[in-house]
């Protein structure tokens, strides 16, 4: 009897670990309407109209994850989504490696491909005791700052993440990770990413193989990537 109970407990523990070792999340996104200059109103309207058609996937396994957007069914839908993805800053795929503390963003830009590396935030999060329920999960609030440096200056935007400690996988949308739980909702500037569907412990071999670092180019920092953009902009639009 004792042996049976021991075996049962062991099986439950293994099963539980398997459940927590991997996750597949479908995120949707809202783009909050904000005041933009007249010349941008039409292009932002395209983004507002099409953002609802975009789904993102997060596949997390052990110490690695991949965040990417799912392809849409029609070419017309893809065209509309493209500008939305630009505004969301989510055109690329984000591979997170918690062991080396880096996120690699596989990003198409300026007619070619770049791999931009970001640090896993970890120490940059401020954990709070604020909580709310998202679905069946109790989530806690953490904050950080999203910084953009461009030739107009430095911009800082607040980021709010609601993470669920019950899902002990420190992953989230884009390059946001390093919290003591899965991020189920993320507010970044005028964007809100929210988990629409969560599957624990269900990744198949094909999905696990997708979680791999991007290849083909030497990774560069955000600052180096921004410098390339600034040079191209200067050549095309003059010094501004």
């Amino acid at each position: 009897m004792k042996k049976i109970l021991l075996l049962l407990s062991f099986s439950i523990a293994i099963y539980g670990y398997g459940q927590q070792n991997s996750v597949e999340v479908t995120y949707k996104v809202d783009l909050v309407e904000t005041e933009v200059s007249e010349v941008l109103k039409d292009i932002y309207k395209i983004a507002y109209d099409n953002v609802k058609f975009i789904d993102f996937k997060l596949l997390g396994y052990a110490k690695e994850s991949l965040f990417y957007r799912e392809k849409l069914l029609t070419n017309d839908a893809e065209k509309g989504a493209d500008i939305a993805l630009t505004i969301l800053g989510a055109k690329g795929k984000f591979f997170t490696n918690l062991e080396n503390g880096l996120v690699y963003e596989d990003l198409p830009a300026f007619g070619e491909k770049f791999i931009v590396k970001h640090p896993v935030i970890t120490n940059g999060w401020k954990l709070t005791k604020d909580s709310k329920s998202i679905g069946k999960y109790l989530c806690y609030k953490a904050t950080t700052t999203y910084v953009v440096n461009n030739s107009k200056g430095r911009f800082e935007f607040p980021v709010i993440a609601w993470y669920a400690p019950e899902i002990n996988l420190p992953f989230g949308p884009k390059n946001y990770s390093g919290l003591p739980g899965l991020i189920l909702e993320l507010h970044e500037k005028d964007r809100i990413f929210y988990a629409d569907k969560i599957s624990l412990g269900q990744l198949d071999e094909k999905q696990r193989k997708l979680i791999a670092p991007p290849k083909g180019k030497k990774p560069i920092t955000q600052a180096e990537f921004d410098a390339i953009g600034a040079k191209i902009a200067k050549e095309r639009f003059g010094g501004r």
Binding site: V39, L40, D42, T86, F110, N150, F225, I228, A233
Partner: protein, 65 residues
């Protein structure tokens, strides 16, 4: 003579109007593109985002797919 002169004058005016209309499109779209880039940068978007948006505005202006 008068009739020929009038006809020639009308033709000249029409040509000037036509050429200026044809040339106006890229100039206006270029200006819109630069304004969009400036606007995107001022809104705190990155260089690559601003360039993509500017290109989107230009294509919409010029009727390019």
């Amino acid at each position: 003579m008068k009739k020929s002169f009038l006809t020639l004058a009308m033709l000249c005016l029409f040509s000037v109007g036509f050429v200026s209309q044809v040339n106006a499109l890229p100039v206006n779209c270029n200006a819109a593109q630069i304004a969009a880039y400036d606007g995107a940068m001022g809104a705190g978007l990155s260089e690559s985002q601003a360039i993509d948006i500017a290109d989107g505005v230009y294509k919409a202006c010029a009727g390019i797919e």
